[in-house]
């Protein structure tokens, strides 16, 4: 008992002591500090910013701008002229070295100088020129042009290179339209030569803009020059290979963490970083390999490590490393940019940049922090720790972004050139240019045309990002080609069925028939407005014109002989609301590679998959009307118009090229085809035997313009949730689809 008491007392005493220390211990230092502060008076160097009690002056007396302004005599117009006169050469900006007025007259048109006989042009430069000539910006009339591109090959300005063009200076000065390079764009991949590799082009570029690879921040004139990636002779002109990432793996780590394989320069410019790489190499997950074996007299300069490095270098296969590494080091070479950059990007190997002062490709529009790790050459030794600290979610996102950027802007010469031109166009049309979101998110700036709308919610791509939904109704566009003769014609039934849909806002009848418009009373009375538009030139492409009367986001495109019920229309629209960037509809078709004929084939057979949904009965976003009319080249559109065929295939090519996804087929109505064919008028183009053969030809023509086959197969059809399930038909919302 006593012992217990004693323990109790000891315990409580202990507890009290603990409490004492706990409370006092924390408190005391603070108290001592405040005492300390007071004793030291106001200013100790290492203390937080004090709270002053004085009434302080505001930094800006309210009338200062006022008084200043009235002291200002120089007119703002004069000031602009002064600026324009002063800032030339290395200080060129759009405001001082570019004549905007040339672009306001005819829009953004690009002129390419005619090629002179005897001028040799490299394949790469030829590709650049033919891309421009094939683009919608091209004009052959210099009087219309806003931008001028030389036909003199300026890509390789390394004097030691066989591609080097001599006497460029005189040739350029003699051009009649040169005008000191004003509104000219000069493409360049290599400048300077051994040993200093300056960025000088070896001729006076005057006020011309540079689209240059490996450009340094020091020489880069922001908002004026364009930094382009270094690409090889083999870089394809159009299309281009897709990114190597086929599927996402989670966790996203690969066999290697960080790899590099490349030349080492023993001396001279750019050698420091590569010479130091061996410090970081660990032969396990960080594999950084260099070789001294390059150039004629490497043996002369070779250092103590060369033999060991060369041996290690030969042990690894570059391609294997590229595919199996999470990060790829992109150190500077002699010049700031290197081929490694595009290689890593395509391989979904997140580039780790070690090239201080390199103005990264398309830096004006691409947010490289989302796809690369921007390292600092000075902190080379920290690089492994840095990349290891990057969270796996971030790696997953970086990797996907490499693929997006590769396919959007880099995979072909065409994309690189068009991106360059679009960047300059954005500057010219300042208030109607793309926001950073449009450049850096799917589908990218080349497919998101800002002239369509400045509002992101008007495009099919940004609903999720902005947290908004498309307009809850659709506009039906019926393509009419045959005259109205009887009241039982399919078009009238179709009109009535579509008008009954609860989601229908209006119906547009596009009158592409040679006969004059029928009188107003001939159209049935409907609850929604019916607008009849007489087709321009009555050509096929007019069905995809971006009519201003289309006010909804969704367009229901219909042929005049399409047979659809109201329920089917309703269901297709509800599906489209979940997939606003795709084509959602009924008649599905497929493509296949015909290996005997070595060409693409087209089939309308009922198969287990499909890659097109025809626009005779399909819903898609109205933006694709704009894209069809403004993005596609005249050559393809006029082909469609001449054949009066294939417009639906072309639309499918376009939408799949943008989304990289297949269209969506919704519930098959029984014997859709037979009904359609049976009821179609005799004049229908479907009855024409040539029709099918033409469609094969179209496919191949389109594929060659797109630089590949954009169509994607799908095995999925979307049906109403209880479709053909064994439950009472009364429980089914879209029961009519089954009844048909």
């Amino acid at each position: 008992m006593q012992a217990k008491k004693r323990y109790l007392i000891l315990l409580s005493a202990g507890a009290c002591l603990l409490l004492l220390f706990h409370l006092g211990g924390v408190q005391l230092p603070a108290a001592s500090r405040s005492r300390h502060d007071r004793s030291r008076h106001a200013y100790r160097p290492d203390q937080p910013w004090p709270h002053f009690s004085d009434p302080l002056h505001p930094f800006l007396p309210w009338d200062q701008p006022d008084t200043e302004e009235y002291n200002l005599h120089i007119s703002p117009r004069q000031k602009r002229d002064v600026n324009a006169g002063v800032y030339k050469g290395k200080r060129c900006r759009m405001d001082s070295c570019f004549d905007f007025s040339l672009c306001h007259r005819n829009g953004f048109k690009v002129y390419v100088y005619p090629q002179q006989k005897g001028d040799k042009i490299s394949e790469s430069y030829q590709n650049i020129l033919s891309t421009i000539e094939g683009s919608r910006f091209y004009t052959s009339d210099p009087g219309q042009a806003c931008l001028f591109v030389l036909s003199l090959d300026t890509l390789d300005r390394d004097q030691l290179s066989p591609q080097y063009v001599h006497n460029l200076k005189t040739k350029v000065q003699n051009l009649p339209l040169w005008n000191d390079g004003r509104n000219h764009l000069i493409f360049n991949l290599y400048s300077g030569t051994w040993p200093d590799y300056t960025e000088d082009l070896g001729f006076d570029i005057g006020q011309a803009m540079l689209a240059k690879a490996s450009i340094s921040t020091e020489n880069f004139r922001p908002g004026f020059d364009v930094s382009i990636p270094l690409f090889s002779k083999e870089h394809p002109r159009t299309g281009g290979e897709r990114g190597y990432l086929k599927y996402n793996s989670i966790p996203p780590f690969r066999k290697y963490m960080l790899v590099f394989k490349g030349k080492r320069y023993l001396t001279g410019i750019g050698s420091d970083t590569r010479n130091a790489l061996y410090h970081v190499h660990n032969a396990e997950d960080v594999v950084l390999l260099t070789t001294c074996k390059h150039g004629k007299d490497w043996q002369k300069h070779k250092d103590a490590r060369c033999d060991k490095d060369n041996a290690e270098y030969d042990k690894y296969d570059y391609k294997e490393m590229l595919h199996n590494s999470t990060f790829c080091l992109v150190p500077r070479g002699r010049r700031l940019g290197s081929f490694r950059f595009l290689e890593a990007l395509q391989a979904a190997c997140v580039p780790v940049m070690l090239s201080n002062g390199w103005e990264l490709p398309f830096s004006e529009i691409i947010d490289w922090n989302t796809a690369a790790v921007i390292g600092d050459e000075r902190l080379l030794l920290q690089i492994p720790t840095t990349v290891r600290s990057i969270h796996q979610d971030k790696i997953l996102s970086l990797r996907q972004q490499t693929q997006f950027l590769w396919e959007a802007y880099f995979s072909s010469v065409e994309k690189i050139v068009l991106t360059t031109l679009e960047i300059i166009q954005d500057r010219v049309l300042e208030h109607g240019s793309r926001s950073s979101l449009m450049w850096n998110s799917h589908p990218g700036g080349l497919f998101a045309l800002p002239q369509y709308s400045g509002y992101l919610g008007d495009f099919p791509f940004y609903y999720a990002t902005l947290g908004i939904k498309p307009h809850p109704k659709f506009t039906a566009v019926i393509h009419a080609v045959s005259p109205l003769v009887s009241q039982s014609q399919p078009i009238l039934k179709l009109l009535a069925a579509v008008a009954k849909s609860q989601y229908c806002a209006q119906i547009i009848v596009l009158w592409n028939c040679d006969k004059p418009l029928p009188a107003k009373h001939r159209w049935p009375a409907t609850s929604v407005p019916v607008i009849v538009i007489e087709g321009e030139n009555k050509v096929m492409s007019s069905r995809f014109l971006p009519y201003e009367t289309i006010v909804t986001d969704a367009v229901l495109s219909l042929d005049e002989d399409t047979v659809l019920s109201t329920t089917e229309v309703d269901f297709a629209f509800t599906v489209w609301q979940s997939f606003p960037e795709r084509i959602v509809g009924y008649p599905a078709r497929s493509h296949f590679w015909d290996s005997n004929k070595e060409r693409w084939g087209y089939t309308s057979k009922w198969t287990n998959d499909y890659s097109m949904v025809l626009t005779g009965a399909a819903i898609y976003h109205r933006y694709y009307h704009y894209l069809y009319s403004n993005y596609l080249p005249t050559s393809l559109k006029s082909m469609v118009d001449q054949l009066a065929n294939c417009e639906d295939i072309l639309m499918n090519f376009l939408v799949s090229a943008v989304t990289k996804l297949p269209p969506i087929k919704v519930t098959q109505k029984k014997q859709y085809k037979e009904t359609m064919m049976g009821q179609s008028s005799r004049a229908s183009r479907w009855a024409d035997p040539d029709h099918f053969a033409q469609r094969q030809t179209c496919m191949n023509k389109f594929a060659s313009w797109f630089g590949g086959m954009p169509l994607v197969h799908s095995q999925m059809r979307l049906d109403p949730v209880l479709f053909k399930d064994q439950v009472s038909i009364l429980r089914k919302k879209y029961r009519d689809i089954e009844r048909l």
Binding site: Q2, L8, I9, S12, A13, C16, L17, L20, A31, A42, R44, P45, D46, P48, W49, H51, F52, S53, H57, P58, F59, L60, P65, D66, E68, E69, H73, S75, P76, R80, N83, F100, T217, P222, L245, K246, Y247, N248, D376, R378, H431, S435, L437, N440, H442, Y455, A464, G467, T574, V575, T607, D609, V712, Q715, M716, R717, L718, V721, K733, Y734
Partner: protein, 570 residues
Amino acid sequence: MYPSGKYSSRGPALIPRMKTKHRIYYITLFSVVLLGLIATGMFQFWPHSIESTADWALDKRSVHDAPLVRLPVSSPIPERGDLSCRMHTCFDVYRCGYNPKNRIKVYIYPLQRFVDELGVPISSTGLSREYNDLLSAVSDSDFYTDDVTRACLFIPSIDVLNQNSLRIRETAQALAMLPRWDKGMNHVLFNMLPGGPPDYNTALDVPRDRALLAGGGFSTWTYRQGYDVSIPVYSPLSADVELPERQPGPRRYFILSSQMAIHREYRAELERLKEENGEALLLLDKCSNLSQGAAPARKRCYKGQVYDYPQILQESSFCVVLRGARLGQAALSDVLQAGCVPVILADSYILPFSEVLDWKRASVVIPEEKLSEMYTILKSIPHRQVEEMQRQAHWFWEAYFSSMKAIGLTTLQIINDRIYPYAARTYEQWNNPPVVKWSSVNSPLFLPLIPPRAPGFTAVVLTYDRVESLFRVITEISKVPSLAKLLVVWNNQNKSPPEGEKKFKCPECTAIDGLSLDQTHMVERSECINKFASVFGTMPLKVVEHRADPVLYKDDFPEKLKSFPNIGSL
């Protein structure tokens, strides 16, 4: 204390064997503890008053107590800013080091009062209210360090916000005297009003070596991209005026011009626009005869009619922000605060925080030359875009313009993002207002990829103890050609998973009444859904009316030609 008194009075009876010595020992021990506790208690309550007197003493601090530093005439002057400076050439990253938080450390020099040899101060205003606010905010932030040796970035306490109040040469000398100046390396200067008459340069004229400049009126020719930071010109009205929140939508006026000091050429042009378009435009100017006592900064007039500023800004869809003598205008801040879309006419101006903010979503930039076309240009902008811009404009003000704290910390964050680019804030973080952050959906798998079939799939089967059912599932699923791996999650703590072919019976399974089980089950699951929705703050699930089937599902078509003939036959 209670027990000690009790024991001491009844001690002999309760603790007979305890010696007096011990007793005294215990009593002393308790008294000490007791006293200690009381003292601590006193400290707990008293210190508040002690601290508050200390605070009060702090508040009593005056800028006039700052040590006086006399600048010799011959004191060195820094070089003019080097236009080629970039982070990799003029900034010492080694001072920032590797740090797991990826946050730079910022040191603020203590306040000093610099005077020339005659005792005249280098600045007519000394420390301004705004610069003081900025420095306090930095010192209260996570960036701050009081350890000069650990700092990555240094902020001088010399106030250069307004070049007008500075003596250029002496200010430069004062900068050079800072103990860690070292050619301005890793120093940042905050300046909102650069230049002076007659040319009004667009960057601070004070020679500053390699110091980076957070400047409020850069033109493309003075801004060192990726090195300097373009900041707003703070508007004092931000603190003084609270505007009621207005939802984006149509406004009474279409275009409003409220700046007082507009060059007469431009004012003439605006008046011409007004003549053409009438009521849609409101052109305000300074009031000529205001009653006494009215703050002239808070009033604007049009033909004798007086309007409250900045309240009137809320009545217009677009508000003109024209360049003045300087490119940066405090009016931009007022306009954003009002949720009015700024129409910026200032050629070659580098917009505030343009390195991270997407101004195309919040403003309209028109070349000065096209002022006369302003109306047509603005009319072509869709309504919904105007609304998005109004929302975006107000959000920019709230997050980045509203206080010196916001301006200062945003600047530091931008510099921080350059030093640790792999940990930089994202476009969405900078640009999306909270309402978008909440409602937007950003899938972590955003790349449109159709994965190949080759790697197959992994089946994960959750099981409790219905072993027969488990075996049936396993048998069925293992027939699937693209199955790569099958993972069974054994979710029963009381039994160990069966081994090999051993089979278990499940007597309970049949005993439970199917229906009642079903009902409790549903109730539980509904509760779950409600709980989850409340945790998410919203219902993330969406209802759709479609389901995916194979292309030829239930079609009148030979079954053997179908890829997936047996679906729906279960």
